[in-house]
């Protein structure tokens, strides 16, 4: 097994052993509570969508709801911050330094582990949404159509993918910040940046710079959805490469 794979494996193990990482799994409560609420005709949880919802449509709606809750972005930024900033601060990153030697592998391994963790959570969210759709929500025929997907499936998958990409961008961004800032500061700065990204996404001309713009387009049923998603994909790759490159450069120069 090569060194990057070993670090990634160890980082994944650490992520699943840390209690703060488990907070991210509370995202699975969103489809659970939503499906239970709708089935029991709760006054708090209501569905105002056009027509009955499919299983994939429900999963897509849960992604959008989790994104709009913002708290999961904060939790993810804290997890990312703790993975790097806290280890730099308490010097436990030194466990790697003279055993690995090459610092870019340490940064790369940590980032890769976080990306895998994020995708794993996304997959769990899709699976939980589908499971609770068929186990619970299906008992409310006013909301659930009972079918797996319909003609809107392409758009719904795009919406899910766009939300996943946004979390990946969050990881790239916070990893970069964590080379310089402490965990809590990373979370604070990320929250401010999120608000700025939100504002930018509504300003013509510069809205393409904000990743939230692409999520807005993806959820708007607009005709530009495919073009916008491809653009978002390219945007995420560019941001990923750029931020990772800067992050590696920073960690290679710094005193650990």
């Amino acid at each position: 097994m090569n060194t990057l794979a070993i670090i990634t494996k160890i980082e994944l193990k650490k992520l699943f052993q840390r209690k703060d990482s488990w907070l991210m799994f509370t995202i699975l409560l969103v489809p659970i509570l939503y499906s239970v609420g709708l089935t029991s005709n709760s006054d708090v949880i209501t569905y105002t969508g056009a027509g009955n919802i499919t299983a994939i449509g429900f999963a897509s709606a849960m992604f959008q709801m989790s994104q709009s809750m913002f708290i999961f972005n904060v939790i993810l930024s804290a997890i990312v911050g703790r993975s790097l900033a806290s280890e730099i601060e308490n010097k436990s990153i030194r466990l790697y330094v003279n055993r690995i030697g090459v610092r870019k592998l340490i940064y790369g391994g940590k980032e890769l582990a976080l990306l895998i963790f994020s995708v794993f959570i996304d997959i769990l969210l899709v699976l939980t949404s589908i499971a609770f759709y068929y186990a619970v929500l299906i008992h409310n025929p006013k909301v659930a159509s009972g079918i797996f997907y319909d003609s809107n499936v392409g758009m719904e998958i795009v919406q899910i993918v766009c939300n996943c990409i946004f979390w990946l961008i969050t990881i790239f961004l916070v990893m970069l910040m964590a080379t310089k800032l402490k965990t809590l500061v990373c979370v604070g700065v990320y929250m401010i940046l999120y608000i700025i990204m939100n504002l930018v996404s509504y300003i013509n001309g510069i809205k393409y710079l904000s990743p939230l713009h692409y999520i807005v387009v993806a959820s708007s049923n607009s005709s530009q959805i495919i073009f916008s998603t491809i653009l978002f994909f390219i945007y995420a790759i560019c941001v990923g490469i750029l931020f990772t490159h800067i992050g590696i450069h920073k960690i290679e120069k710094m005193d650990l």
Partner: protein, 272 residues
């Protein structure tokens, strides 16, 4: 560090001493590759460690030992052994037994005392084959048994496995006991780099009434002697009989007599 240069030979135990903030830990951090030197270089087996960072894998390092405190001692060691891509269960067991941590191996590291963490740090740095052992204040916070264990480990590594050892310490007695050479740092500069050759030497003090006439006679006969208040102080214990003869010939009585094995504290004038 300013204009600092030193080398260490295989099997040599070198101690870094100096006041707080002198630069001991900074020097060790640079050697280990934790900090990058703004100028100059650290060479190991002829290779610059900045250009060849992989070479630091051979270093056994104990500088402020770091652990993942939310997992057990054994898991911490297992995680580290994965980094070297080797199965080292036997080595882990052996080290935990050696450091008397075997019974606490399942405990989370956050429940460990400072001394236990220091012992676990020793396990970490000896987990793989070590080519160069670097320790920062290794004896701090250890009980006498732990201290002895650390000292024995250092001596074994240096004298049996021919591994060079560099450690920093504030305790001159510990330094005196195990090291071959001492390097003193002050404000980032090397103040002293000296082999500890005094280990088998003695300081003799004879107490009596000393007149100028006696001083002259003693210096004529015995060469270099020091006089302090009513004491004649010298290093060569074979002179004792000659000095005694001169004093008796001049009708002087010896009021006090002491022979002390020389140590680092006496070298720095901190004793007696």
């Amino acid at each position: 560090m300013n204009d600092f240069s030193m080398d260490i030979c295989p099997g040599e135990i070198v101690a870094l001493i100096g006041e707080n903030g002198a630069g001991k830990t900074t020097l060790l951090n640079i050697i280990c590759g934790y900090s990058k030197p703004s100028a100059g270089q650290v060479r190991y087996k002829g290779k610059n460690i900045v250009a060849n960072p992989l070479i630091t894998r051979e270093f056994g390092v104990l500088i402020e030992p770091q652990f993942l405190d939310y997992i057990s001692a054994e898991e911490n060691l297992r995680l580290l052994s994965q980094l070297t891509n080797q199965k080292q269960d036997t080595r882990i067991k052996e080290l935990l037994e050696k450091t008397e941590l075997y019974s606490s191996r399942k405990k989370k590291v956050k429940e460990f005392s400072f001394g236990m963490k220091q012992r676990l740090g020793l396990c970490q740095c000896l987990l793989t084959e070590v080519g160069f052992l670097i320790l920062d204040e290794p004896f701090v916070g250890l009980d006498p048994i732990g201290k002895e264990l650390f000292k024995q480990t250092i001596l074994d590594m240096a004298h049996k496995q021919n591994v060079p050892v560099l450690f920093s310490s504030h305790d001159l007695d510990d330094v005196d006991e195990i090291c071959d050479r001492v390097v003193m740092i002050s404000k980032g500069n090397k103040q002293l780099d000296q082999p500890l050759e005094h280990k088998q030497t003695y300081t003799v003090k004879i107490e009596c009434t000393i007149s100028d006439d006696i001083k002259r006679s003693l210096i004529e006969k015995c060469g270099e002697l020091s006089f302090f208040e009513d004491k004649i102080i010298f290093q060569d214990e074979t002179l004792i009989i000659d000095i005694q003869k001169i004093l008796l010939q001049k009708g002087h009585y010896i009021c006090g007599f002491s022979v002390q094995k020389n140590n680092l504290k006496s070298l720095f004038g901190m004793e007696g």
